[in-house]
């Protein structure tokens, strides 16, 4: 009756520029020196992780017209740091989040094809779109795309990139020294693509890379995002989800694949997950509480409440009650917080949300800061190594996910203990590799090789 145990996939998200990352911890190191990236990547590889994941942010965040200074600020360029990471690892995939709004297909396609060559077939692309003109102010092709065009542009951008990658079949370079034929055909790389967003033609200049094309990730949770993933992606990166919500999401997205002529094993579902590891469950819970207080410093609590109230709350005592007045209602463009996707939900019904938080505060006798601790991101896994290994295994076996993209809260050592203590337990359970199966990321993710050029169906 029982099906074979699913294998757990694990990946490592380099700690981000948000308050999940605890920079104030004495163990917190540089977020920009390459040694931090090398340590983090080599630890992930020691733990046989599938890949390292980098998020993207192309403009420094602001609040109230000033640069936001309470979180980690500053990050490297994605493509170049991934290429450098490829030099200090052998098997680990390198996944970059790259925007389809402030780039052009020819350039992005050649950067990913180059990264795939330079990593020996380990490149992956998390395709995202940008939602604001705020970020566009850093770019020649800045500007705003309405919601309904964002996914359309992302879809056609990816389609165009696939055509560019497929413009080399893989057998063009013969390099016969005797006859003097380097190329088998003068038409290598020829392409032409015209649609509402792109009108380009010519010859692509990077020969077909080891994976044929990078592994494709998608990270949106909206209906369009789920369809986009079901149609085109190899893996989907989701937000923090409870076990039950994870199962619902998993069933929904896997259920969409058939409509696009695909099978459930062709799309991996990999939620982001934080963790706090202790010697015992009780100790882990204690540490987790301390970490929450580090993540929500008094200043961070006030800043977070300002995002919902949409006004200056600098006089607010974080250890006192929530503001007794209602939030300033505004559309997204009028919010005082800029460059932060999470605040979009605050524009929907800020007064209703504020009332919910007041009710929570009254019911549990919470201060303003304690409310923020309560309502913002919780740790996904808290416990001893055995507890965490059990929870991860259950999540995968019971179809809440195919594995996790772990988000440690300390840079660069936040993964060390997980790799030393949790990974061996997963290996003992027989649900996690003891060595890499293949040489490419696609092989290690258990995805079929890229075959002949496939055409992406129009939106279903």
């Amino acid at each position: 009756m029982s099906r074979p145990r699913k294998q757990v996939h694990l990946a490592a998200h380099f700690p981000g520029v948000n308050n999940t990352t605890v920079w104030s911890d004495p163990a917190g190191g540089s977020h920009i020196e390459f040694s931090s990236f090398a340590h983090f990547a080599q630890t992930a590889e020691r733990g046989k992780f599938d890949f390292l994941f980098l998020a993207e942010g192309l403009r420094l965040r602001e609040q109230g017209g000033k640069l936001y200074d309470l979180d980690v600020v500053g990050r490297p360029d994605t493509f170049t740091v991934l290429a450098a990471i490829a030099a200090v690892t052998e098997h680990l995939g390198v996944t970059g989040t790259i925007n389809s709004t402030f780039n052009e297909p020819y350039e992005v396609a050649r950067q990913f094809a180059s990264l795939d060559w330079l990593s020996g077939g380990r490149a992956a692309w998390n395709v995202v779109t940008s939602w604001d003109a705020f970020t566009g102010e850093n770019f020649r092709r800045g500007g705003y795309l309405p919601q309904d065009q964002r996914y359309e542009r992302a879809r056609t951008f990816l389609q165009t990139a696939i055509e560019l990658w497929d413009s080399w079949k893989g057998d063009e370079i013969v390099a016969d020294k005797e006859t003097g034929r380097f190329l088998s055909t003068p038409d290598a790389g020829s392409f032409a693509h015209t649609d509402a967003h792109f009108d380009i033609a010519g010859q692509f200049n990077v020969p077909r890379s080891p994976q044929g094309r990078p592994v494709i990730f998608q990270a949106g949770d909206s209906d369009e995002g789920r369809d986009f993933a079901a149609a085109q992606a190899d893996a989907i990166f989701t937000g923090h989800a409870t076990f039950e919500a994870g199962q619902v999401f998993y069933a929904d997205v896997k259920g969409r694949l058939a409509r696009f002529g695909r099978t459930p094993d062709q799309l991996l579902i990999l939620p982001a997950a934080t963790f706090v590891l202790g010697d015992t469950d009780a100790q882990a819970a204690e540490i987790a509480h301390e970490v929450r207080l580090q993540q929500v410093s008094p200043a961070t609590a006030v800043a977070f409440l300002e995002q919902l109230w949409n006004t200056d709350l600098s006089g607010l005592d974080p250890d006192g009650p929530l503001p007794d007045f209602d939030p300033v209602v505004s559309d997204v463009a009028g919010l005082i917080s800029k460059g932060r996707a999470s605040v979009r939900q605050f524009a929907k019904d800020p007064i209703g949300l504020a009332n919910q938080w007041r009710e929570l505060a009254a019911a549990k006798h919470l201060s303003a800061r304690e409310v923020v601790v309560e309502v913002t991101g919780r740790q996904s896994f808290v416990g001893s190594a055995d507890t965490i290994a059990t929870a991860i295994d259950r999540s995968v076996q019971e179809d809440a996910s195919d594995g996790f993209i772990l988000v440690p809260h300390i840079t660069p050592g936040g993964l060390d203990r997980f790799v030393d203590e949790v990974v061996p337990l997963l290996q003992e359970r027989g649900v996690y590799r003891t060595d890499y199966e293949g040489s490419t990321l696609r092989e290690n993710l258990g995805l079929a090789p890229v075959g002949a050029a496939r055409t992406v169906p129009a939106t279903a």
Partner: protein, 421 residues
């Protein structure tokens, strides 16, 4: 180590299997490895063993063609390449002293992206990054982007290169390059070095007064800033450009740290250096260091006859005599050393050598030319600095935004030795 009077700087220009079109057919060539990381790592490590100042890596946003204006249909040449910036990034962690200077096409790319990319290579190499900026107004490249109206250079334009109309178009394209470099430089300075404070007491990670909007406006693009990447280890990575005429010399003079030029004799070298110095003066940069490197394609063997016969064999295989924008040198390492020292009096800081074939000519540069120059006291015997700026004798510059009124950025961010004295 004090810079000796006649000490020269050497760069090596990497491109495919070497600069001769038949280089890939040589017995020691590895044309099937051109797209592997090992190929590039080995070449740069070889150059590093020769104590070379830096390597450049060629690039383009189109397939190579022998025709300067259009695609060709040739199948007997190396075609296809990897992104040079990513090659440099891949090589950075596995080298330790040599500078890494990829080519970037400025006409179609985003200065914001390139600025953080070069800054990131500077972090990954702990201070050895640079970038060589290049314009490309070809019609075929433009069609790969389809984003802007560009009046491409046609054959009739080349024939009338001196006409005011064509000169104006060249100037426009290089003015855009200068604006692009200005954005790179401002973004590198948009974080002061001590902007990251990690003040636990107040919860502040940065002192936001030490981050700066660059508010750059031009007719091609506007960029707000600050960069998302903190100021790189060198402060300002090296900016380089290649020029063959007055308009690009102006770009070299007003925007770069290193200019590559193509004199064919010492007198031309003297004239070009004088022209660049005059343009520096006109741009208000008379006191800034702008190193002028002469480019040479080199075919090196133990005897002049061997070198000549090897080049002849290559030419026969290519079906044409090899010509280049740069002087093509064919001879012994000792004869090349004579030439380099002879031309140096023109005011050149050094040379960018383009190996005719790889690995042969690269190995002759590092194993024969360099020892010959060392014997003559004209080249370093060990790396004297750990950054590219250091190898080029350039101090780490102060930050433009620290020294100036933040609300009124000056038109240039370049700094001089006096600024940091």
């Amino acid at each position: 180590m004090p810079e000796s009077q006649n000490r020269i700087h050497l760069a090596v220009a990497l491109d495919g299997a070497g600069w001769h079109p038949a280089a890939w057919r040589e017995p020691d060539a590895r044309p099937l490895d051109l797209f592997t990381p090992a190929y590039w790592v080995e070449q740069v490590q070889q150059a590093e063993r020769g104590l070379i100042d830096f390597v450049t890596i060629e690039d383009s946003l189109r397939l190579q063609s022998d025709d300067p204006l259009e695609p060709d249909a040739r199948t007997d040449r190396v075609r296809g390449r990897l992104d040079a910036t990513l090659i440099a990034a891949r090589v950075a962690p596995v080298t330790s002293h040599i500078g890494l200077v990829p080519t970037a096409i400025v006409t179609h790319t985003e200065p914001f992206h390139l600025s953080k990319a070069i800054a990131t290579i500077d972090y990954a190499s702990t201070g050895r990054a640079g970038v060589r900026v290049q314009t490309d107004t070809r019609a075929d490249t433009n069609a790969h982007f389809g984003r802007r109206e560009i009046q491409p250079l046609r054959r009739e334009d080349v024939a009338a290169i001196a006409s005011p109309e064509v000169q104006q178009r060249l100037r426009d394209s290089f003015d855009e390059a200068a604006a692009y470099v200005e954005v790179l430089r401002r973004l590198w300075d948009s974080w002061e070095d001590d902007a990251e404070i990690r003040d636990v007491a107040t919860g502040r990670f940065i002192d936001r007064d030490k981050l700066h909007y660059i508010d750059f406006e031009s007719r091609w693009f506007s960029v707000k800033g600050p960069s998302i990447t903190p100021r790189p280890p060198q402060g300002q990575p090296i900016v380089a450009a290649l020029g063959h005429a007055t308009v690009p010399y102006q770009l070299i003079a007003r925007s770069t740290d290193v200019g590559f030029v193509t004199p064919h004799d010492a007198a031309q070298a003297t004239a070009i250096v004088a022209e660049i110095r005059a343009e520096q003066e006109a741009a208000g940069r008379a006191n800034d260091t702008v190193h002028v490197f002469a480019d040479l394609v080199v075919f090196l063997d133990d005897t002049r006859e061997q070198a000549a016969s090897r080049r002849q064999r290559l030419d026969e295989r290519a079906g044409a005599d090899y010509t280049s924008d740069a002087l093509v040198f064919t001879g012994t390492p000792s004869e090349l050393a004579d030439l380099l020292l002879d031309w140096q009096a023109a005011g050149l800081s050094g040379y960018r050598l383009r190996p005719g074939t790889v690995p042969h000519d690269l190995a002759r540069i590092t194993n024969a030319l360099v020892p010959e120059l060392q014997r003559r006291g004209a080249f370093r015997t060990s790396y004297e600095a750990s950054t590219l700026r250091g190898l080029l004798g350039l101090p780490r510059p102060s930050n433009h935004y620290r020294d100036h009124d933040h609300d009124h950025p000056a038109t240039t961010t370049t700094t001089t030795a006096a600024d940091v004295a």
